[in-house]
Amino acid sequence: MKKFDLELAVGLFIIMGILCLGYLSIKLGKMEILGNRGYELEAVFADSGGLKVGSSVMIAGVEVGRVKEIALDDYQAKVVLNIREGLKIQEDAIASIKTKGLIGEKYVEITPGGAEETIQPGGRIRDTQSAVDFEELISNYVFGKL
């Protein structure tokens, strides 16, 4: 009888451990199991500058979504963003690709607009600004820029 209790305790302990591990890997890997809440918006950039699936989408430095998909479309980067449920993005919002710090990771920043109309789920953020290419900026500086 006593032996059985011990085995049960060990079993429960291990199950708990596995559950914790599962929770941690989902949290740390930023996966979502029960589908993505929120809605999707699309933005086309001339240069995504190495943006990755899972990169943050921010407004005023606050994370409001994530990059869900990046694909090549007509030699431009078509980025699908997953935006937090209930957050409205105006028709004249501008999406730009930014770098955290000088050489940090890339993220998408949305500067909200002032239009009355908002972009419907599945719609597109029309105005975008690509990643700034430091190499290009330096070469412009070196070879003279007008």
Binding site: T111, G113, G114, D127, Q129, G144, K145, L146
Partner: protein
Amino acid sequence: MIYGFLRRGVFTLLILLAAGSVCPAGEPTELIRKATDRVIAILNDPSLKGPDKTEEKVRKIREAVDKRFAWEEISKRTLARYWKERTPAERAEFIKLFGKLLERTYLDKVKEGYSGEKVLYVDEKVEGRYGRVRVMIVTKQNTEIPVEYRMLKKGDNWLIYDISIEGVSLVNNYRKQFSHILSRSSYSELLERLRAKVEGTETID
């Protein structure tokens, strides 16, 4: 059946794409081209050379450019969500002031004269009431500067609501600066600063 359907669809798409690339010079491009040629003509005009004619030259360029710009739309987009809080009179004042600021910022650079930059019209995209014209400016030193005009159809006319130079949007630039100022201080403070820039002798960079 489905395959045939798909193939036909792809075929039509290809024809459309081909047609698009054969004649990229649609209406928006034509309008940009006209305005650009007009500005270059003013800059090249020998009767407007000399420092005493600068004012007249700037006025003429402003006139030529004004027709192409949706000033209200640009102002609205730069003030973004703060636009709604303004009264019509305040809006009118802002449009005027912001136009002046842009004039000062950009025409200062232009009025020295035209130094042989070439303008190449790369392509044009029209989607509903939105259009964009991509242009490449080639300087004498052969530096290429990509410029994108974002345009909005108003009635029969195409007007510019944003310009992106080297991938940096004008509206986004000012929108961020203004919202920064407005979140820390007041609208009157922003006007004050705009006025100082417009009237002051300091140049804006």
